[in-house]
Symmetry: C2
Subunit: 378 residues, 2 copies
């Protein structure tokens, strides 16, 4: 079976690396002009004619993607020729923050209160109504903290509107959360469902820096809640493949932030940390194979390498690091790779992660619920 992947970045690359041992073959359709996957045939979208897309579709049996911000028209056209997993319906909902929130609400999944605005005046009014601080986000296209602004008062509406520069924004109440979590699940064409243990995620400047899984000290009730939410979403969307749901942990319980219809950076820990990785499970799911075991092998952390790789030699010298580079040139804010670290205990994991952080140039101080707890010990 040959699988076509829309996008040829690191997620496509890691899907292919996980799929080859299952005898899958891969072709990539690149829409960015700078494919980096490097492990299969690449077709480049010239934007002028459809020859490349047709050639790509002729070659593949099924199609998936590494990025949901795709033109819906394109995805529907693909669907008319080859099976697309997850479907264009998952893409339609997940690429639009309003659709997403409305779905959460309809399914009884708590989510921060929100308004949709189409001018700086409406933004100011929404900020007043919800009570500042509020977060304004472009309804479509934003990711990695792009297209977002925090308003501390309604006076900042015009500046925020101009900085985002998008015709429609969603404005959300600021949530007082203790940490960010994500839950990753997978559903196969055979209707089999598997859910990974939740990860705790730490961001810096809007970009994910660290995930720790299974999320330490997690209330088992919250774990069940998250699993219920994501199963409900997958079933409602008839979603095939991996789905990721980002959550806030609050005193009142979990609140849904956003979701992605694909393998996710906060699931990279599964490569060495789980029995079967999110990448392999996505391939199994869309190919109609039985799903792999989602259990954790041990407490695991994932550290993103952002902008600069630093000394690869130093990173590889540490006996507990698993390095995954993406074949990309250095550039500010760019995800160049990640490191997975496994340990027998969370304490050891925390020490190893802190130690590894020293070798990541330009990284903020390591921070997670574990490191905070460590610091409280006199």
């Amino acid at each position: 079976m040959r699988i076509g992947i829309l996008g040829a970045g690191q997620l496509g690359r890691m899907l292919a690396l996980a799929g080859y041992p299952l005898n899958m073959k891969f072709s990539f359709f690149d829409l960015s002009g700078s494919p980096t996957a490097g492990v299969g045939d690449i077709f480049i979208d010239s934007g002028k004619c459809e020859t490349q897309l047709d050639a790509f579709l002729d070659q593949v049996d099924i199609v998936t993607y590494e990025f949901e911000h795709l033109p819906l028209e394109l995805t529907r056209k693909i669907e008319s020729k080859k099976p697309l997993y997850p479907s264009s319906e998952s893409i339609r909902v997940c690429q639009n923050r309003v659709e997403e929130k409305q779905l959460f609400t309809r399914l009884g999944i708590p989510t921060p209160e929100f308004r949709v605005v189409e001018s700086s005046e409406e933004l100011a009014a929404a900020a007043e109504e919800l009570g500042c601080p509020v977060v304004a986000k472009s309804v479509t296209e934003g990711y990695d903290g792009k297209g977002q602004a925090v308003l501390k008062s309604a006076d900042e509406a015009e500046a925020a509107w101009n900085s985002i520069g998008h015709p429609q924004l969603i404005v959300e109440s600021f949530i007082n959360f203790s940490r960010e979590l994500s839950v990753i699940a997978v559903r196969s064409t055979q209707d089999e469902v598997a859910v990974y243990p939740l990860a705790e995620n730490s961001h810096h400047q809007g970009i994910l820096r660290t995930s720790i899984a299974p999320a330490p000290d997690l209330d088992p009730e919250f774990e069940e809640q998250a699993k219920h939410y994501i199963s409900t979403l997958m079933s409602e969307l008839d979603h095939i493949g991996v789905l990721t749901l980002e959550l806030f942990e609050t005193e009142q319980g979990l609140m849904a932030n956003e979701m992605a219809p694909r393998v996710h950076n906060s699931g990279h820990w599964t490569m060495e940390g789980a029995r079967c990785s999110q990448f392999e499970n996505h391939i199994r799911a869309i190919a109609g194979l039985p799903l792999g075991c989602t259990q954790a092998r041990s407490p695991t952390s994932m550290l993103n390498i952002i902008g600069q790789a630093g000394s690869i030699q130093d990173l590889l010298k540490l006996p507990y690091t698993h390095l995954h580079l993406y074949g990309k040139e250095e550039r500010a804010g760019r995800k160049l790779g990640h490191i997975n670290i496994c340990a027998d205990t969370y304490k050891e994991l925390c020490q190893r992660t802190e130690n590894t952080y020293q070798f990541l140039p330009g990284s903020p101080e390591f921070s997670c619920s574990l490191s905070k707890k460590e610091k409280q010990i006199p």
Copy 2:
């Protein structure tokens, strides 16, 4: 860095899959006419001109191989243009059983007594002298039990000679061994050395069926002995990359059988069973990177899939199987893939391995020192 691999079968494929996350790129030079690696550029040796070899060499920074039965002339020619790791000296010794044995003897590594013969009459005489049973093997080219015969009496010399059909044979005393072990080690261009825990190997019809690592109930003195032997060999050969040494465990200690200057089937368990796999460590070693940790993550077994794959669905349904297929068509005696199984205890490992064996068509009954012990328990 682009690495050239001589050979484009499963070992080359797994080297590439392990090397991409270190930002390596791969080209294969295929000498078989049926490349199956499928994860990099492939140059096919036409056997008629050197254009393909030159194009391959122009593209790569360093060269390695998945198979040591290469024309020495070719490897020396390559060495005159690009670094070849391990060197042609490692190939020269490892592709010749007499050279190998002489090296073992010179370095004080015990090995079964042997004679070299060049006719059926000499073979009969050697069998008489050593005392039957003896094993006769072609001096070069044999692998996976090919080019071998066991003689129960000197009368069988002519039949054995004809069946092997090679101008020079090595004849070895039959060793009364309790099990076969292998030790895999790696040495980098920076002179760093790392050794994996030993594996216990079970063969059927001359082909490896199962490895279990770390080898259960292994005398720590034997472990040290094996590590000493392989370190001595690597140092003597100035060997760069992975080296595998097959050993017999006897009441008198370990005896060396043969070695291979490459990643080895009995090291496939390291993919999920060790911190860093033999494939990643080979790439690290030849690229001058620090070596990865060779410790086992848990008791692990490796089962070869030979000739027929059977039901992939059934194999994937078992929650503890890690499947690695090689992209090959079914053919009697052909290695199509392998399965790694990890467990917290050897008892659990044994149960899981026996259970998985049921789904491998045409496989012999699972047999290892663990399963034999299990059977002794009433």
